[in-house]
């Protein structure tokens, strides 16, 4: 069978070359994914660093701003101090100056002037405060400032007015003598609140602590610091060391772009997974393909190695496929068979009608599932009995696309069946024939003796009488008498033998009943068909309906039919296959129309005249193993019914045997008794 699969390249799983092809993209994909994972991390890291650096820079800037501002204030206050010492600045002018300073620098909370004894000279606010009202830390700073003759900041502390303050003590010296101080008080909170630009405060929490990290003041206008990015700077002022702690409110970089990257990574994983899935799918397909090819090859091998013939036909009866076994069976090439429409070259001519009939049955869908037997014709002309099973060919959508048949050559089986049947028949026949044979052989043997003796005695007697005639020798009467006595004895003995043998013969009393010819023929049809099939003979019956019944002994007439049909079939053994047709017809005898005539017509070798003479004689047979009883019994049986058995030549070659049986008249009401008596009511 030609393979209809497209040639596919040999796809191993996985060959080295293929694996290499897959490895590279996979590697690149992995590289890509790795990069994608690394990049955001790197970025994040970079950003962190940047932010940190930014914070540091900003913190530095803030620290410097604070310090510059404080320094400016220090300078302004220093100038005021100098002018006070110089005597330029006092009274309202001082107040004015101080007022202006405060006004321009909101971070300064209050400026007071104290004299040498610590008594308040002037103040920018209404608080009446003197040296003693200052906080301890402030006083300490004042003393130190006086001692060092330099302005100093005090530690943050609370004085009587309330909030935590840092006092900037400016001691005033005139000519080396302490004449008083100017004290500028900063609110601890103002340093941060007023001196740190809002945009920095917005992004950072700033805390002011002393050197021991004790919190002085915290500004968190933008929110609480996240402790992610922090920086601590020292804020060194004269006499005061503080720490400026900045704590960015920004958390670690959000990896928002990294989120996208995550998605990409996910998708990449998806891609990889898809690739893997694709690889697996391809391999699965390859495996399926291989399995399919194996299956097909296997199936082809099966079909090719089958002994049973397979034949597929489409719905028109055109052959679409045959396997080698079928082609071999009919002796043709597969190509010669496929594509043909009926009539098929392997159809045996004598069975064409049967084929057509069955074919139309097949098309109509009334096919038997058990299969049927028929005959095919081999290309060399010989007949092959086959067993065919047909079933609808249905495609995978459930629609019928044709017919599938399996054809089995049953010649062997038939031969064996035949053998068996023959054995059976012989067994059964021999039971009957045994008696006959026994009788015959017994008769032959037993009768031989007395007959031979009779022959000898009588010959002897005749010889003696001749002598007497010739030689005038008186024959002893006594010896003649003796001879004839012996003859008589032997004849009696012969009779006795026959009589004793006669008792073995069971003569069946024939019974008569009303049967139709059709019934009689139907009842032997099976046997006739069997016989016919054995010799590849087709049997055709032609029995018109409406024939009157006959009064007959079933068994006898069946025997007649069997005998005649067997003879007819056997006579056609050597005849061309297309002529092997046996016909059984029945009809009314035209002449009298009171007889029914049954004809058994064959196209065999016919009956030569010399045989015809002795045809019906008992013990005459043309068959090697024939008893020669057949036709003589047939004739007796037919004549017993009041009919006749004749034969004539078939003009087409062969013989026609005809026997007639009186038809049962319709107006003859007859009943049969079991003993065979017949009572008639309207005697006709």
């Amino acid at each position: 069978m030609k393979s209809t699969l497209p040639r596919s390249p040999s796809f191993g799983f996985p060959s080295r070359k293929q694996a290499w092809r897959w490895l590279l993209p996979l590697f690149l994909a992995l590289l890509f994914v790795t990069t994608l994972i690394w990049l955001p991390l790197h970025e994040k890291h970079q950003e962190t660093i940047e932010r940190q650096e930014q914070l540091i820079a900003d913190s530095l800037w803030v620290e410097q701003t604070i310090r510059f501002q404080l320094q400016r204030n220090e300078e302004s206050l220093g100038l005021i101090g100098t002018e006070i010492v110089a005597g330029y600045l006092n009274g309202p002018r001082l107040a004015d100056r101080m007022e202006r300073l405060i006004r321009d620098n909101h971070e300064i909370h209050r400026i007071i002037e104290l004299d040498a004894h610590g008594k308040l000279l002037s103040s920018t606010d209404e608080t009446l405060i003197s040296y003693h009202d200052l906080s301890a830390a402030s006083r300490r700073a004042a003393e130190r400032a006086r001692a060092t003759r330099t302005p100093l900041y005090s530690q943050p502390a609370q004085d009587i007015s309330g909030p935590v303050m840092i006092d900037y003590q400016v001691p005033l010296f005139s000519g080396g003598k302490y004449v008083g101080s100017i004290i500028a008080s900063y609110l601890a909170s103002s340093i941060l609140d007023d001196m740190v630009p809002w945009w920095f405060a917005q992004d950072n929490e700033i805390a002011l602590t002393d050197m021991n990290d004790l919190l002085i003041y915290k500004r968190a206008s933008g929110g609480v610091g996240r402790d992610v990015y922090t920086h601590t700077r020292a804020l060194n002022l004269a006499g005061l060391s503080l720490k400026l702690k900045t704590n960015s409110i920004k958390s670690a970089p959000k990896l928002l772009p990294s989120l996208l990257v995550d998605i990409v990574i996910l998708l990449s994983f998806g891609l990889v997974w898809s690739l893997i899935a694709l690889w697996r799918d391809i391999n699965r397909r390859l495996a399926a393909e291989t399995a399919l090819r194996e299956q097909i090859t296997f199936r082809a091998a099966m079909e090719n190695s089958l002994v049973t013939g397979m034949r597929a036909r489409d719905l028109d009866g055109r052959i679409t496929y045959v396997n080698p076994a079928f082609a071999q069976m009919v002796g043709m090439e597969i190509d010669d068979i496929v594509g043909r429409l009926p009539p098929m070259p392997y159809w045996a001519p004598e069975a064409v009608d049967e084929y057509q009939r069955r074919f139309s049955q097949v098309l109509a869908g009334t096919v038997t599932p058990q299969g049927f037997e028929t005959i095919f014709q081999h290309a060399d002309g010989r007949r092959i009995p086959v067993l065919i099973y047909e079933s609808p060919l249905v495609d995978d959508t459930g629609k019928q696309t044709g017919w599938m048949g399996s054809i089995l050559d049953i010649s062997e089986r038939k031969r064996i069946e035949d053998l068996n049947r023959q054995q059976q028949e012989k067994l059964q026949a021999s039971a009957r024939l045994a008696t006959m044979g026994e009788i015959a052989s017994t008769l032959a043997h037993e009768l031989n003796q007395p007959l031979a003796a009779i022959s000898s005695y009588t010959t002897g007697a005749l010889n003696m009488l001749e002598w007497q005639h010739d030689d005038a020798v008186p024959t002893e009467a006594s010896s003649l008498t003796h001879a004839f006595q012996m003859v008589r004895t032997q004849a009696q003995r012969a009779g006795q033998i026959i009589r004793s043998v006669h008792t073995f013969v069971k003569k069946r009393e024939p019974t008569r009943e009303a049967v139709t010819i059709k019934e009689l023929i139907d009842s032997v049809m099976t046997l006739v068909e069997l016989q016919a099939q054995k010799y590849f003979v087709a049997v055709r019956t032609g029995i018109p309906p409406g024939l009157p019944p006959v009064l007959a002994d079933r068994v006898l007439i069946e025997q007649v039919l069997l005998n005649l049909t067997r003879n007819g079939i056997e006579s056609m053994q050597a005849v061309a296959p297309d002529k092997r047709v046996l016909q059984i017809t029945a009809g009314l005898d035209d002449a009298t129309s009171t007889n029914i005539v049954v004809s058994v017509i064959d196209q065999g070798h016919g009956i030569p005249p010399e045989v015809a003479e002795r045809l019906y004689s008992p013990f005459f047979s043309t068959k090697a193993d024939g008893m020669g009883m057949g036709l003589s019994i047939c004739r007796t049986a037919v004549e017993f019914h009041g009919g006749t058995l004749t034969h004539s030549d078939n003009p087409q070659g062969g013989t026609v045997f005809r026997f007639s049986l009186p038809a049962l008249q319709k107006d003859l009401i007859a009943t049969t008794m079991p003993s065979g008596e017949k009572t008639q009511r309207n005697g006709k």
């Binding site: 032959a444 031989n448 003796q449 031979a452 003796a453 010959t459 002897g460 010889n463 010896s479 012996m486």
Partner: protein, 196 residues
Amino acid sequence: MLHIVDDEEVVRDSLLWLAKSRGIQAAAYDSGKAFLTALDGVGRGAPQGQCVLLDVRMPEISGIALFGQLAARGLAQSFPVIFLTGHGDVPMAVDTLKRGAFDFFEKPFNDNKLMDRVQEALAASEQAAANAAVHTRLAALSSREREVLDLILDGNMNKVIADKLGISMRTVEVHRAHIFDKMNVKTAVELARLLK
């Protein structure tokens, strides 16, 4: 003498009657054993012709076996055997023919034809016996006498014979007389006929 051997009385009786009706001297035996016993009593080389009529099938000793016995005793020629066979025994009978039986008849047979054949057998047997006798007598001749015999048979006169052999005529005459005596003939013509 026709010897009828059959185990059936009817057969023996009817065949005896048949033989009698043809003027053939016959004797019947009911078994092969009886016949053989009788045979031993009969002198060898009896001048009369003999014939044996046997049924192939017999109890105890079958016809075939009996024939075998005869052949073993060298009597096949002097006692020609005719078999009576049934339908199925023909091959057996044919075989016996090959081994030297005279003939066989299938039952049922034509009685007179059988008797004709019996007569032929008797004649053959007689002839055989006669031949045997002649042979015996010939054997009794001396070599010289044999020579003379040959010359006589050639039709030579005594004188010629004497010349040929280098003996006297008287001697030839003496030889001649002895030959005739031994061969039991009276004339040369008889001699010639005998030796044909």
